[in-house]
């Protein structure tokens, strides 16, 4: 369907964005890449009275070293996440996730900030940020605040963000020794039926300090605490068994809950195998 009518303004700075928002009220929404928002307008799932374009605000752009990690601007596109040399070196999990998101034309416009603000339960990046222990930096007229990724994703399409806040950047800590992402989708570019983002160390041929974070199996990314511990202490089979205590996936139009749990176990094995090398799990 055609989009419903709305007013539009482009903000050139955060101050300008906040002033436009103050004047337009709750009926106005931020637009970055538009790759989720404009889809929801086409489906007439929402009809905001105004869109405030934040995609050209300089403060939302750029990738820079911050401590042992990175500060990645919210306006960074998925395409840039996949191609940027600093991200490849300091947050390789995000670079690995990028090609799994949608298709090339959508990756050229969709942004990190828009993706995590939208908080689709099957989205790759929220799970990656939880696995990495990243921090989300949000600004509002009240100032700036920092939110741990684990506290940011509250539920289905729901985040800790206030209605007038703008995500400015994501900060990642020093990269873990190893990380990996895998997912099972019906076709390349589709939202995953189930996916796994993992961060870990490797100590004498075993995975250590694993953080297994699943997506597409709950309202928000699920940090599978039992399976993560089991993987470290007892290996893959124990982790697969422990997943029943971590996940209680609801079925959706793509897969039943049982199938999603099965896929989560398959992904656990695949990710462990990829991390340790071929033949490592000959059991």
């Amino acid at each position: 369907m055609k989009w419903p009518a709305f007013a539009y303004a482009r903000a050139n700075s955060l101050e300008e964005a906040f002033a436009l928002k103050r004047a337009a009220g709750a009926d106005a929404k931020w637009i970055a890449g538009g790759q989720s928002l404009l889809v929801s307008l086409a489906y007439r799932l929402q009809a905001p009275g105004a869109l405030i374009d934040i995609s050209r605000i300089a403060a939302l752009h750029g990738v820079a070293e911050a401590g042992a990690g990175l500060r990645i601007g919210a306006a960074t596109t998925h395409a840039k996440l996949g191609a940027d040399a600093l991200i490849g070196a300091r947050a390789p999990l995000l670079a690995q996730a990028a090609p799994l998101i949608a298709h090339a034309a959508i990756r050229n416009r969709g942004t990190l900030g828009g993706n995590i603000a939208y908080a689709d339960p099957a989205s790759e990046l929220p799970a990656c940020l939880v696995a990495l222990g990243a921090t989300i930096v949000a600004a509002s007229p009240r100032g700036e605040r920092r939110i741990a990724a684990a506290d940011f994703f509250v539920g289905l399409f729901e985040t800790a963000l206030a209605e007038d806040e703008i995500i400015v950047a994501v900060e990642t800590p020093a990269p873990p020794a190893g990380s990996a992402i895998d997912e099972i989708a019906r076709r390349p570019g589709d939202y995953a039926m189930a996916g796994l983002a993992a961060a870990f160390d490797i100590e004498s041929g075993r995975l250590a300090h694993a953080r297994l974070v699943f997506f597409g199996v709950g309202g928000a990314p699920v940090h599978a605490v039992r399976a993560s511990t089991a993987l470290t202490l007892h290996g893959v089979a124990a982790a697969q068994a422990a997943l029943a205590g971590d996940l209680a996936p609801q079925g959706d139009h793509q897969a039943s809950g049982d199938m999603k749990l099965h896929l989560a176990r398959v992904l656990t094995r695949r990710v462990a195998q990829a991390a340790l090398g071929p033949g490592s799990l000959a059991a």
């Binding site: 539009y8 790759q35 889809v39 298709h103 959508i106 076709r187």
Partner: protein, 161 residues
């Protein structure tokens, strides 16, 4: 906040200014304001790729792009890519391999395939399929399209046809 605004951009090398409503997407802008009907509006919600055009050198979904957001942008459509001769070899390969039946997907397919080649894409069927995964074709079954892009990539690399 504006409910109508002027936007100036470059389309296929020509500067154009129009007064538009913010709800106009890039495809309707091209088709209705400029009479450029090469890029198609299929699903109009981001899944089919029939609306693929280039903005500032990168392929995008025209149906998920606000025309109002394109102040100062450089847009290229299938008309521009054809007239410049940039995609001549690809078009020849599409004809040779019968990669175009009803033709509805073809402008988007060619624009996406041109992007694949421009990024140095090789004659690798899996990689070609991955790059065109966002472009639906309801006629060909894709084999002929992949054949054509593979052929164009091979010819460009100077190998045997």
């Amino acid at each position: 906040m504006k409910t109508r605004l002027d936007v100036t951009l470059t389309v296929n090398g020509e500067r154009v200014t129009r007064s538009i409503e913010p709800r106009l997407h890039l495809i309707d802008f091209l088709r209705l304001e400029l009479g450029l009907t090469g890029a198609h509006a299929g699903c109009e919600h981001g899944v089919c790729g029939a609306c693929t055009v280039r903005v500032n050198g990168e392929i995008v979904r025209g149906c998920l792009t606000l025309a109002a957001s394109l102040e100062g942008a450089r847009v290229e459509t299938i008309e521009g890519l054809s007239d410049s001769g940039e995609i001549r070899a690809l078009q020849d390969a599409f004809v040779a391999h019968n990669a175009c039946q009803c033709g509805f997907c073809t402008p988007g397919m060619l624009t996406t395939a041109a992007d694949y080649l421009a990024q140095g894409g090789a004659a690798d069927r899996a990689a070609i399929r991955e790059h065109i995964s966002g472009n639906y074709c309801r006629c060909t079954g894709y084999q002929a399209i992949v054949d054509a892009i593979e052929d164009a990539a091979r010819r460009r690399a100077g190998g045997a046809a």
